[in-house]
Each structure stands twice: as structure tokens, then as C-alpha cells.
């Protein structure tokens, strides 16, 4: 009996230790076709709420104080603002035409938005609620990454196949780096030394030295039994310690795990269909993936590098963030 109690106590301790890191964390998923945000408990992985928002919600980011979620409502040409305490929509922000995805500047005051139809990057001042600058870039701007110090904006343009580096002070394009076809996502390393750019049609991830603005390595992928055409890299995550990278491979239905020092592919994790975007929880023990065709998210254990669960969400999940 005493042993049993001891075991139970030990179990409870272990269990609470595991769940502690994710206690109170919330996973937020935009559903492009469902026009909703799905809210999940990061620990139990239960869907707690489904909130109707504007049309074609794609990119989502948290406000700096984590109290609001900004949502690119692409077909409404605006940024929806969701209060994460009340789960009520607040008045929307302007965005320029057809906002697809965006990034929040580290100052927490400006959103940098890709206007896919107009070949523009729009800068929105959140407090002033207006577009304060427009920067012409290549055809179909998409991925948006801001350096950790906030000085450099990287925007990828899909049809032009470039990563444009924008100086945040002058708001001028200062460098254009040609990458492989249809670049989708730009992700900075936490030290600001590199940014990684995925090319959906080219099938590669270019590692770019941020100071030299040159490609220093190209990661390629090969999965036995999967045609090369199906390997379409999109979302990227890099751990803060720069040990691991994760790359969503689209219709290959896998997430590649990269050694972020050697750039070798360590393994491929089978997730849902057409895996698109990725998000860490705050201690980076979990990766959440949106799977656009199977209408679910997959949960990856970062320590074991195993997919531990998939959870149905709304119609065509696109973006994902985790609120601590």
C-alpha cells in the first residue's frame, strides 16, 4: 500500500513536472477555408474554442504582450484582432490588399505585411492603426522574417524567387538574394547570424549568412518512396540554442529535422497531409504543425523527435502560434 502511494506520488510529481512547461499554454490555429481560429489547450490537446473570424485567415502572430492575436484575413483585406482574454474580435487593422502573412517587429509596434497581389510590403503602425509605409518588392511577396535586433527585414517573393533584405531604418531594399523557385518562408536564427529561406518548388532550404548576405549552404531533401516533386519545403523553425531546425515539407507529409550546425538532415517525421507551418511552445519541447489537407495539427516531441499526437482542427489549417 505504501509502495502504491509512493508510486502514485512519484507519478503525480513526474506528470506535473512534464505538464508544467505547457500548463496554461494555448495553441491557436488559423483555418484558411473554415474562416475560424481553433483554440486548443497545449497540455491536454483538447479543442476548447472555435472562433469565427474574417475570410481566409492565414498568417497569425501574437501581440508583444501576448494578449491579442493578429490575423491576416486575406479575402477581407484587413488584419483581424482577437482579444485572447475575452476571445472577442476587436476593430480590425488596415493591411493593404490581400495580406497573406506578416511579422511583428520586436518593438511590438509595427506589423510588416506581405501584400501578395500588389508586390508590396506594407508597414502598419498598430497604435496609429494605419499603413505608414509601402515597400515595393518582387512578385508575390510571402515569407517575412525580422532580425532579432529589429534592424533587418527579410521578405521572400515567390515568383521573383528572391529574398529581399530591407533596412528597417531607411525602409529601402538593400540586398536581393536569388534563391530557388517559390521561396515561402524566412526564419532568422536567434543570434541574428543567419536566416533560412525555404523554396517550395525548388525543394531546398538556403542558409544565408546575414552579414555577407550570401548563401552559405543549401539543404536538399530525399525521402525513399516519396517523389521529389512532392517535397515542397515551407515552414521553418530553429531552436534558440541553434541545435535543431525543423522544416515542413508540404505534400511529402513530413517534417525534416535538421542539425542546425552541420545542416545534415537527421530524420523525417511523418505528420498529417500537406504540412504547412510550424510553431514551438515556449520552452521548445513541442512543435505544432498545421496539416492543410488532413485538417489537423500534429504534435512533435522535440526531445524524442517523435510525433505524439494529431488533433483535428478546422477546415484547411494554415497558421499556428502558441500563447504561453
Amino acid at each position: 500500500m505504501r509502495i502504491l502511494i509512493g508510486l502514485t506520488a512519484a507519478f503525480v510529481c513526474v506528470f506535473s513536472a512534464i505538464s508544467e512547461s505547457r500548463a496554461g499554454e494555448t495553441v491557436l490555429v488559423s483555418n484558411e477555408k473554415g474562416n475560424t481560429i481553433t483554440v486548443l489547450d497545449a497540455n491536454s490537446l483538447e479543442v476548447t474554442k472555435t472562433i469565427p473570424v474574417g475570410q481566409r485567415p492565414r498568417g497569425i502572430v501574437l501581440s508583444k504582450d501576448m494578449s491579442e492575436l493578429y490575423i491576416c484575413a486575406s479575402d477581407d483585406d484587413q488584419i483581424d484582432v482577437l482579444d485572447l482574454n475575452t476571445y472577442q474580435l476587436k476593430p480590425p487593422l488596415p493591411s493593404g490588399a490581400d495580406p497573406e502573412t506578416f511579422a511583428l517587429h520586436p518593438d511590438g509596434k509595427h506589423l510588416y505585411i506581405s501584400n501578395e497581389n500588389d508586390s508590396l510590403v506594407s508597414i502598419v503602425d498598430i497604435a496609429q492603426r494605419q499603413v505608414v509605409a509601402e515597400i515595393p518588392v518582387g512578385v508575390e511577396p510571402e515569407g517575412m522574417g525580422i532580425s532579432p535586433d529589429g534592424k533587418w527585414i527579410v521578405n521572400t517573393s515567390e515568383t521573383t524567387s528572391m529574398a529581399h533584405v530591407i533596412d528597417n531604418d531607411t525602409r529601402q531594399v538593400v540586398a536581393n538574394i536569388l534563391v530557388d523557385s517559390r521561396p515561402r518562408h524566412a526564419e532568422w536564427t536567434s543570434d541574428g547570424a543567419q536566416f533560412w529561406v525555404s523554396a517550395e518548388v525548388g525543394g531546398t532550404v538556403s542558409i544565408i549568412d546575414a552579414a555577407k548576405r550570401q548563401i552559405i549552404h543549401k539543404i536538399t531533401f530525399a525521402i525513399p518512396g516519396v517523389p521529389n516533386e512532392a517535397i515542397q519545403p515551407v515552414g521553418i523553425l530553429i531552436t534558440t540554442d541553434r541545435k535543431l531546425g525543423f522544416v515542413a515539407l508540404g505534400p511529402a507529409n513530413r517534417v525534416a529535422v535538421i542539425d542546425a550546425q552541420t545542416y545534415d538532415v537527421k530524420q523525417y517525421l511523418l505528420v498529417g497531409q500537406r504540412v504547412w507551418n510550424l510553431a514551438f511552445n515556449h520552452d521548445q519541447s513541442r512543435v505544432f504543425t498545421t496539416n492543410g489537407i488532413s485538417n489537423d495539427i500534429s504534435v512533435i516531441d522535440v526531445h524524442d523527435l517523435k510525433v505524439i499526437k494529431s488533433v483535428p482542427v478546422g477546415d484547411q489549417p494554415w497558421g499556428v502560434v502558441v500563447r504561453p
Binding site: 490581400d98 501578395e116 497581389n117 508586390s119 515595393p136 518582387g138 512578385v139 508575390e140 517573393s157 515567390e158 515568383t159 521573383t160 524567387s161 528572391m162 529581399h164 531594399v173 536581393n176 536569388l178 523557385s181 517559390r182 517550395e200 518548388v201 525548388g202 525543394g203 517523389p227 516533386e229 515542397q232 505534400p251
Partner: protein
Amino acid sequence: MRVIKWRLSPALVYARRRFYPRAETRVRTVAVLGRAIVTSLIVGVLLTHASGSACAQEGGAHNIDVGYLSQAEKREAPFPYLDAPPADEGLAGARLAIADNNTTGKFTGQSFVLKEFIAPEGGDPAEALHQAAAAGIRFLVTDLPASKILALDASPEAAGMTIFNAGAPDDALRAGECRANLLHTIPSRAMLADALVQYLVTKRWTNILLAVGTTEGDRLYADAIERSAHKFQAHIIERKPWTFEAGARRTDTGHFAIEAEVARFTQGIDYDVLVVADEGDEFGDYLPYHTFEPRPIAGTSGLVPTAWARPFQQWGATQLQNRFLKLANRWMTARDFAAWAAVRAVGEAATRTNSTDPDVMVKFMRSDKFDLAVYKGAKSSFRSWDGQLRQPVLLADERDLVSVSPQPGFLHQFNELDTLGIDQPETKCRFK
């Protein structure tokens, strides 16, 4: 009485009609066309002038002129059709691609100019080619029937040019009649047929009744379906010529005559799917809901294999559809797409080689390093053996994208896209 007149590139007629949202009367279409020709001549002169002065400023080092050559067609709004074909079909695709190229060109210091050479109706495209040659064109996108492409290509003035075929699906152009300076961005009939038959085989609708119209294009389309059926082990139960004279629909109670005729045509035959070879859309629209047994229709009507379709929205295609709508005020067709892909191929080669030297660009374009993102998932490139742009083929009706071929499971040693059309081991193309 036969009302249908337009025959210029009959092969893609179905595509032009399919995805064109507005009906225009004959008079208006012709008037628009006339205006378009005059405008293009004026614009052509202005452009030549403008680019001349621009060249003077920049030394002309980073400018690339792309020619677009087609022939004005008399396009009546034919009786069974609900939508008249657009006057700027093909050309609008080229114009959009020039704009796309120039957006990229801002960052690479390259600029692209489209020079339009439209031969008048009944005139000789050779005169337009002469003008293109005089303007120093090295990349020429054409939307012409196969015979006229071959005639142009034989001219000494075409010797230094790379010609893109963005209109003719004829397999002969990729086989016995292939030319070393000819690239094809429009899918061949063999590719279209393979795309369709792969899907039919996937659905296990392998018993095909083939209804064939009276034109040469119809015959070639049916031949391509037969070849695909053999390739993918489907069965042509019967190849039946359609000889019933169209025209009853406008007659009061004409639908009874059509119903009786289609029922008779399909009665007593055991088949899964009725495949129509009717590139001019003379009778294909009569067939649905009239067959003796309830059977789906595919081919040039019903479920249509095509390079581009209005309901297509995947792989970012929505963006291209939106840009095109904004530019042309209508939906993109397969011929628009083919012209767009040709001009984009020129732009992509210029970007990747960081060169505006046509010889450098063409060499790269034909190499295995070249790839073009065409919004259809897999990357496109030119087949080394016949100059055809390998690409996924859409299967769509007017309202729905049904599938995209190659179908999963049709495997290939090197590239699954080469399960569509004529592969290297079977090519009859020997470049001269």
C-alpha cells in the same frame, strides 16, 4: 447549315470558350479586334521608339525584347456557344508575364519589353516575322496553327530566334516535324490524353466509347486518346464518328432531336465513359444527360484535360488568376497560360544566368538546371528530346477542378511528369 467558321487554332477552341465569363456579340468582337490591331501597331511603334531612347540612356545592355506573333482571327460567336472567345487570348498572358518579369527585373537591373506582331486576318504571318526580325527579336512567342509555325520556322529570318509554340498541340511538331529552335509551352495532345486516361484508369473507368468529330484536329485528338488507352491499358470499345449535323438546338423542340440522336449514338454499347474528340465544340455540349445509359462525358467536353482552368486555385494559382483578372478583365485560358509560361521562361533564364545574352539564356533554358514555377505544384522544365515544357495537366469542368495529372501511382524512372506525353525512349524527334 453550318454556322461555325473559326478554325485557326481549332485544337484549343474548347479551352478558350470554357473559361471565358462574358459573352460578346460578333460585331463587338471584331470591332475590338480591329481596334486591338491598330492599338498594337501604334503601341509597337511607340515601344520601339521608347525602348530606343531607353537604350540610348542605358546602352541597351540589360534590355530583353520578347516578340509575340499571332494572326487576327475572324471570331464569330458561334451558335452553340454561350461565350465568345476573347480577342486578346494568348496575348494577355504574354503581357502579364512581361509585367511579372519586370517586377523581378527591378532588382536584377533587367528590363523586358513585349513587341506585338499581329498578322492581319487572311494575311501572311511571314510579313509579321519580317518585322520581328527587323526589330532584332531573338525570343518569339507564337500562337499559330502548326502549319504556320513550320512555315515561319523555315524562313531564314527565324534562324537566330528561339520560337515558343504557345498555341498548337500537334504531336507532329514534337516528333517528325520537330525543330531545334522550337520550344512548346502548350501541352501536346498526347499529354492531354495521357492526363485524362490516367485519371480514367485510376477511377477504373477503363471502357471508353470514343465519339469523333469531322475535323483533322478531332481525328488527331482521338488518335491521342487511342494511344493513351493502349499505353495505360484502357480499352476503346468503339471509335464512332459523329456525323449528325449540329444546329437543332435553336429550333423549337430541337432538344428532342438531339436527345434521340445521342441516345441512338450510344445505345447498345457497353462502356464506362464517353470520351469526345470535338476540338471545335460543335457537338460535345449535346452529349451530357442525353446518353442512353447514364455515363460521364470527358475529353473536349465535360471533364477536360487542359493546361489551365478557371476553377483552379491550388499551389498559389489564385494569385496568378487574380493578377490575370486584373490585367485582362477575364479569366485565364490554356492559351493565355502557355504564352505566360513562355515569356516567364525567358525572364527566369535572364534572372538565373544574370545575363541578357540570348545564347546564354537559351542554353540554360534547355539545360537540366532550368526550372519554372507554374503554379501547378511540380516544377516545369523543357524536355531535352523535343522541347516540350513538362508540366502537370489539370482535369476540370467549367465549375470544378476535378483532379491534376500525373495521377499518384504512375511512376517514372526520372520524372513523374514524363508519364504525360511522349517520353525520351519513344520520341521520333531528331533535331535538325
